[in-house]
């Protein structure tokens, strides 16, 4: 009995599984198949991810109304795969659409940290870019990029829904370039501004 148990235990043991995994990993690395598979998988995930960007349901101020209008029949962001999710754990994009006050700053950082990688941030409207008309206020941060790294800036007060959809298009192009790079390592990337060309 115990002999059989020991024999089967050897095959089921965690140590054996890890050893087989390490051996396979070394073999794939040596033949450069792992690198090839990595590039292929990365391209595939970028292709899948950029066509379906789940945006967090966050409405701070006026630009949130234009964000809502961009989801309505006239402008229809849904045909580009833009869908709104209520929980930060399930979303890819944090769309900041209003001024960030001191009270809300640590909460927006917590929302950002709760989002899983790969994640992107879009600053929509003047208040999120630089404080907007409230740049002199005692309670408003001068732009959300003082606390969160921003990928795409959409100027306007408020930007039209077409500008928001264009911002998502430029984000898609950026995803092709940088793909799944973690958000902390994107400092060297030039920020994208809608309407720049």
């Amino acid at each position: 009995m115990s002999n059989d148990g020991e024999n089967f235990a050897a095959f089921n043991s965690r140590a054996l599984v890890e050893m087989v995994g390490d051996v396979t990993d070394e073999a794939l690395k040596a033949t450069k198949i792992k690198q090839f598979l990595g590039v292929l998988a990365g391209r595939y995930f970028n292709w899948a991810g950029r066509k379906s960007l789940f945006t967090l349901h966050l409405g701070i101020k006026c630009c949130a109304i234009e964000m809502a209008a961009a989801a309505t029949p006239r402008f229809d962001g849904d045909r580009f795969g833009v869908l709104f999710r209520s929980s930060p754990r399930q979303s890819d994009v944090l769309l900041v659409n209003g001024p960030v006050s001191k009270k809300f700053a640590d909460k927006i950082v917590r929302l950002w940290e709760q989002m899983p990688e790969p994640k992107y941030c879009i600053a929509m409207g003047e208040c999120a870019i630089s404080g907007g008309p409230y740049f002199q206020s005692y309670n408003i941060l001068e732009g959300v990029d003082t606390v969160i790294p921003v990928d795409v800036y959409i100027p306007g007060c408020p930007p039209r829904p077409e500008a928001l959809i264009d911002g998502f298009g430029l984000l898609r192009e950026k995803i092709i370039r940088i793909g799944g790079a973690p958000s902390t390592g994107r400092d060297g990337e030039r920020p994208v501004i809608v309407g720049e060309d």
């Binding site: 967090l56 349901h57 966050l58 409405g59 701070i60 101020k61 006026c62 109304i65 234009e66 809502a68 209008a69 309505t72 029949p73 006239r74 709104f84 209520s86 930060p88 209003g98 001024p99 006050s101 009270k103 809300f104 909460k107 929302l111 008309p133 409230y134 002199q136 206020s137 005692y138 309670n139 408003i140 007060c157 408020p158 039209r160």
Partner: protein, 379 residues
């Protein structure tokens, strides 16, 4: 069963704005609430002490962003009280038309956000589609879909464009048929009635004591509308009646009454606009150039120390008031103190108290039926 506090935190798809509602629940029933505001406190009152009187109008647009034109008008009446400016009658008619168009757009936005809370996703698409009609009209007047910076001290910036009257009349007549479509969809829907009737009773005496005004208090049978009680503009020359609802129960007005009051207000606003565009002095098909005396009179730009201005205006969500003290920097070019009264600031603690005794699933119905807009609350 143990009681616990649940936080419906600032980021929540249902709160219609950025505020925290903490509810203490015993099972499913709410026993206590606590509201926390201030997540978009911009310090507008302090910033306006550094701006000229004409530079403050865009800030007032952005107070309640869903009904920007009414807030800009509200500030302009206070500034005209302070600077003692006269307004030509054609400009008053145009201000009435723009304010009522904004009221229609705002109520449609409310319905488009309230419907999905109750479960009717169709309403979101229908209401936003109809709201685009009015945003196009307001864009012709003001230049932008949302923040227009349109009224000026002493009049309005631009006259109504050529052909505006025809488009306006056609769209309003189409909208009057659309209101009947909404009622057909909602008033015969069992889910809508079950979720709204019998939920969120508010007594008239409590609301008056707390200072709630606007459609929320008219739903309880109190006939108080700033447009006739503290009159301004040309509301006495157009044909309309205040929209007041008889509550369905002695316990007070429920969410269904607050919904009906806003539908009736949309009807009255349409009637007002159609009447005003016919009665506008100077004709509806004329277009006067900017600065013409039919639409604007030159107003003084400085206010001496000791002068004060006050305005009481019926915004979409209640009575909004501005109190301006003159004598600021630049020999009176800036206000010394600008104070803003937001109807929602008074209503939100009252909404939090109303929820006690109902279930968690009733929170979206009660909260949405009061139509909160946090931009004006937090200033």
């Amino acid at each position: 069963m143990a009681q616990m506090w649940i936080t419906m935190g600032p980021q929540h798809p249902m709160t219609h704005g950025l505020w925290t509602l903490r509810v203490k629940v015993d099972g499913e029933t709410i026993v206590d609430t606590d509201a926390e505001l201030g997540y978009i406190h911009r310090g507008v009152e302090k910033i306006c002490e550094d701006r000229d009187f004409t530079q403050i109008t865009p800030y007032c647009d952005r107070l309640c962003y869903v009904s920007a034109m009414t807030w800009a008008n509200s500030y302009i009446y206070a500034a005209e009280d302070l600077l003692e400016a006269e307004v030509p009658e054609r400009a008053e008619f145009i201000r009435l038309i723009s304010a009522e168009l904004q009221r229609l757009a705002s109520h449609l936005m409310w319905l488009g956000a309230f419907g999905p809370d109750i479960g009717s996703l169709t309403l979101m698409t229908w209401c936003m589609r109809d709201r685009e009609m009015f945003l196009d009209l307001l864009q012709e007047l003001g230049g932008s879909r949302m923040h227009y910076n349109y009224p000026r001290i002493g009049g309005v910036k631009r006259d109504i464009p050529v052909g505006f009257a025809t488009r306006l009349i056609a769209k309003i007549k189409l909208f009057e048929k659309r209101i009947e479509e909404y009622e057909m969809l909602l008033d015969e829907s069992t889910i809508w009635l079950v979720r709204l009737q019998g939920v969120g009773y508010t007594k008239a005496e409590d609301m008056v004591e707390a200072g709630v005004s606007g459609p929320n208090v008219r739903a309880a049978g109190v006939n108080y509308d700033v447009r006739w009680a503290h009159p301004y503009s040309v509301y006495d020359q157009v044909d309309w009646e205040p929209a007041v609802e008889k509550p369905t129960s002695v316990k007070g007005a429920d969410c269904y009454d607050r919904y009906r009051v806003r539908m009736e207000e949309m009807r009255q606003s349409s009637k007002m606009i159609l009447d005003a565009i016919e009665k506008i002095p100077g004709g509806k098909n004329r277009n006067y150039s900017t600065g013409d005396e039919m639409i604007m009179t030159k107003a003084p730009t400085r206010a001496p120390e000791g002068a004060t201005g006050f305005s009481n205006y019926e915004c979409t969500r209640g009575a909004s008031q501005f109190y301006i003290k003159g004598g600021g920097e630049g020999r009176g070019k800036n206000p010394y103190r600008l104070s803003i009264r937001s109807p929602m600031f008074i209503t939100i603690p009252y909404v939090a108290k109303t929820m006690i005794g109902y279930k968690i699933a009733d929170i979206p119905a009660i909260m949405g039926s009061f139509d909160p807009c946090i931009g004006e609350t937090d200033r």
